[in-house]
Amino acid sequence: MEKFQNFTGIVVPLDRANVDTDAIIPKQFLKSIKRSGFGQYLFDEWRYLDHGEPGMDVTQRQLNPDFVLNKPRYQSAQILLGRSNFGCGSSREHAPWALQDYGFKVVIAPSFADIFFNNCFKIGLLPIILENNILDQLFDKVYNTEGYVLNVSLNDQLLITPTEERISFEVDAFRKHCLLNGLDEIGLTLQHAEEIKQFEQRHREQQPWLFL
């Protein structure tokens, strides 16, 4: 995983609640056995007017001009502003992969679905929870200011607006540590291999039927 660094990025507003993982990356793209290349199909059914299938040449497809990601002012956005229960639905990590592959580094919403939220951290995409009233203000500002950017500092847990307002956010200490240092969780866990083995042995003695 790459280290998460401070950055300043364009913000794009996605003003819908309950954006589900089927919408983020429709299932026909889940047939890939790779981890990359999903960005071009992000929000496929909203983003294009024609129906997408894996392997299609996306440059030949018809963009939906009304979809927010297609508006010129939001090109190369790195921060996605969402509404409540973002990422609900399936456990597919393809959803955060697609967001990241598209270029997003941060998703901000008032609430996230558990599995999605968790999956984001595993790949270095930062989900930030903000209160509804702060989000409402952000949505307003983004709509009213072309090229609206936010500066994201994970270290200080701050979003800094172009007018130097500072919005602080919460993040779990362990997850922050992993993101900032680009740590591989498997490596971290394997440092406890001995403890796992001891546990496993005890567990097997107590409940041998679990090991049939």
Partner: protein
Amino acid sequence: MMQTLYDKLWNQHVVPTESGGADGMALLYIDRHLVHEVTSPQAFESLKMAGRRPWRLNSILAVADHNVPTTERGGGISDPVSRLQVDTLDKNCDELGITEFKMNDMRQGIVHVIGPEQGATLPGMTVVCGDSHTSTHGALGCLAFGIGTSEVEHVLATQCLLTRKSKSMRVAVEGKLGLGVTAKDIALAVIGQIGTAGGTGYAIEFAGDAIRSLTVEGRMTLCNMAIEAGARAGMVAVDETTIEYIKGRPFAPRGQLWDRAVAHWQTLHSDDDAIFDKTVVLDATNIRPQVTWGTSPEMVTTIDGRVPDPVSINDTVKRQDLEQALKYMGLKPNTPIQSIILDKIFIGSCTNSRIEDLRAAAKVIKGRRIASTIKLALVVPGSGLVKRQAEEEGLDKIFKTAGFEWREPGCSMCLAMNDDRLSKGERCASTSNRNFEGRQGPGGRTHLVSPAMAAAAAIAGHFVDVSQMDVG
């Protein structure tokens, strides 16, 4: 200290470490790892690239379900992309020595159907799978939840998950269920009440006499949909019904080990007075057959209800959501649910494809024919064994005589990754769990219902109250 069922399952699986659960992160030992073709290839690949091997092979059970065709399989999978994904699973399992039920194995089926069916998921276990509906297995009194692909790799490599304990919620359903009301209706009624985010951050225990009187299969339907209420895990305490269900299944313990296991399983319930972070109570007698009308499972009403009117909603975001949903669903405000006309019927998915589901549907259908306006009515059993059982009972004939197609097991039109799907604008009564936009095919419109309700709708061509029908 009084413990909830969730506390017990959790505590029995936390690996004590020196830095022990700092920041509330725990190393949770995983007993059973279920694997399917969609969310595993990237995990196997990274595992290999890192030069690692699975920690404990006999904890893993693999099966291909999402991409498999439900029509005759002798010729293999025709879609090359689907085929590659299934082949990749086969190859990974063969190389590593992982137990897999291959496509033409009688035991193949939807991962959440075959786990309990085989006794591969047992009370007291921690069960994970790269699939959100892993919550299904909690019906057996185990802690089961869905994980992402990075976590699939983590469990393969370490037999553990680095995770955080959820809050606990008790959903108590008290009283007796009315005629024609099933576990599916309880699930939808609960979601209608608490919302699709109501369970976010919680593990739900379903309790109360209406739950205790459900069969294990009914409990699976309910726990299956815990994720649709936002909860990663749903569970039901172990009782005699659970133990009876497990007895004699292929992976279940036998002899002396069985007795020891049963003694342990009998402790798997919340202590009286255990404290939950949240409690929700529903009166079973008030639950009516449910039908969703929108694009989220919380957009649900009863068979006597009507499609809501956005005008009545003050919250702007909610109103826009509703308008968007009605537009997508092609429905006018205030339309009576019973006047909604259907194009297709799908009976299947990990929510409702077990033998009892098929029996319930067949009972309604017996001696009747599907309406002439129905373009396609599908029954897709959850596993090869469910299919065989149903055929032994003659259910396939009832379905076929009525005009249903009788298919091979798999996920099928639950998410339309194979050829079974809705075309744009088509409307389907489905026993699956998600009615999201495009879930059953781009532009397709899904109404979630119980198997009996789907069967009744197939006969009538529109939704009808199954409790009013003269059934078997």
